[in-house]
């Protein structure tokens, strides 16, 4: 018998990510049993669609999604991250209704502490 199982998120995926100003930030999203569904990244600040699968919708060239088949991971890379890139990002599976995983990105200025 064929068992149709719905996609789900790997609960181990970090929900809080800290990135550095001027560097690349990486948000990962691990999805099991994706099947024929699509993984998209959306920025909550303005409900802007960033990527759909490996396709980049946003015209902001700093965004790119990469699929790592070996661990079912869909990584959103934000190049040259700025303070204003901080906020909530949503990894969304195109099920009906959609399944969402929220990742909070915090962008900090690197500081050096002299002990």
């Amino acid at each position: 018998p064929t068992i149709i199982s719905e996609p789900y998120f790997d609960a181990q995926t970090p929900r809080n990510v800290t990135g550095l100003v001027g560097k690349s930030s990486y948000l990962s999203c691990r999805v099991r049993n994706l099947g024929n569904k699509t993984v998209s990244w959306i920025r909550h600040r303005d409900i802007h669609i960033l990527t759909v699968g490996s396709y980049t919708y946003t015209s902001d060239q700093r965004f790119q999604a990469t699929h790592h088949k070996e661990n079912d991971e869909w990584t959103l890379q934000i190049k040259w991250a700025q303070k204003r890139d901080g906020g909530v990002y949503e990894c969304q599976i195109s099920t009906q209704p959609v399944r969402s995983y929220f990742v909070n990105l915090n962008i900090v200025v690197p500081t050096a502490t002299i002990l």
């Binding site: 569904k37 669609i49 759909v52 946003t58 015209s59 969304q92 959609v98």
Partner: protein, 242 residues
């Protein structure tokens, strides 16, 4: 070309809000100008569910499809709407920065905002376009377990006739007498009021007289056709009169 450099895409008209009865089809149209190589995307605002990008449907909702009439006219179709479909639908263009302003979108439907935005014409194009609201309305339907059947009561007693209906928006129930006679309402002091109709789910008749016998109609309506009505017979038995 120079034209592509001069003209950035923009919204040409606001997305029209629509109100559709459950089970019917709905279409939103996003009117754009100078789209060029940019793409139109549709997102359901509350769930942020991506519906479609350009010609591609992303959602696995089989009732959703897209079409375009020409390069300026982009449609999102929702077949046989259900209550879950209610909400805002956002049309976005992948310009940098993206066209559509969420900050304003949240209060888009308040009159105040409409006025503020209209006053500042320059802002109009930037903020007001890009979202259309789908309201799914449901015609009234009686809830059988909360609706009275025919009754037989002795003269002088009291009776409560109930008609409850569901629907969206909330239906209003109106009572009338089938023979066109007036309904007699009595308060605790015994003061009588004769009315042609009574509005409310419960019609309370007290110290019933034999002339109040007959068929009562309750009509549930909410501006979504069809209205529904139910006939309830009120039978009064009284001692024989010689």
């Amino acid at each position: 070309s120079t034209e592509a450099l001069t003209f950035q895409p923009e919204f040409a008209e606001p997305i029209v809000n629509i109100s559709v009865a459950i089970g019917r089809d709905a279409t939103f149209t996003c009117h754009v100008r100078h789209l060029g190589g940019y793409r139109v995307g549709w997102v359901k605002a509350d769930t942020k569910a991506i519906q479609a990008i350009h010609d591609h449907v992303i959602t696995h909702n089989p009732r959703v499809s897209v079409s375009h009439l020409d390069v300026n006219t982009w449609n999102l179709h929702i077949k046989s709407v259900s209550e879950d479909d209610r909400g805002g639908y956002m049309c976005q263009i992948n310009t940098d920065p993206m066209k559509s302003q969420v900050r304003v979108m949240k209060s888009l439907f308040t009159d105040n905002l409409m006025i503020t935005v209209k006053k500042r014409k320059k802002e109009w194009k930037k903020v007001i376009f890009g979202i259309g609201y789908l309201d799914v309305v449901i015609p009234p339907d009686f809830i059988p377990e909360d609706t009275s059947s025919d009754v037989i009561v002795p003269e002088g007693s009291s009776v409560k006739l109930t008609c409850r209906a569901r629907g969206y928006p909330e239906p209003v129930v109106t009572w009338r007498r089938e023979d066109g006679n007036e309904i007699i309402l009595k308060d605790s002091m015994g003061t009588k009021t004769h009315v042609a109709s009574f509005r409310g789910e419960i019609l309370k008749l007290t110290k019933i007289a034999r002339n109040e016998m007959g068929s009562y109609l309750c009509i549930a309506s909410n501006s979504v056709p069809p209205s529904v009505s139910k006939r309830i017979s009120l039978n009064i038995h009284f001692h024989p009169v010689i």
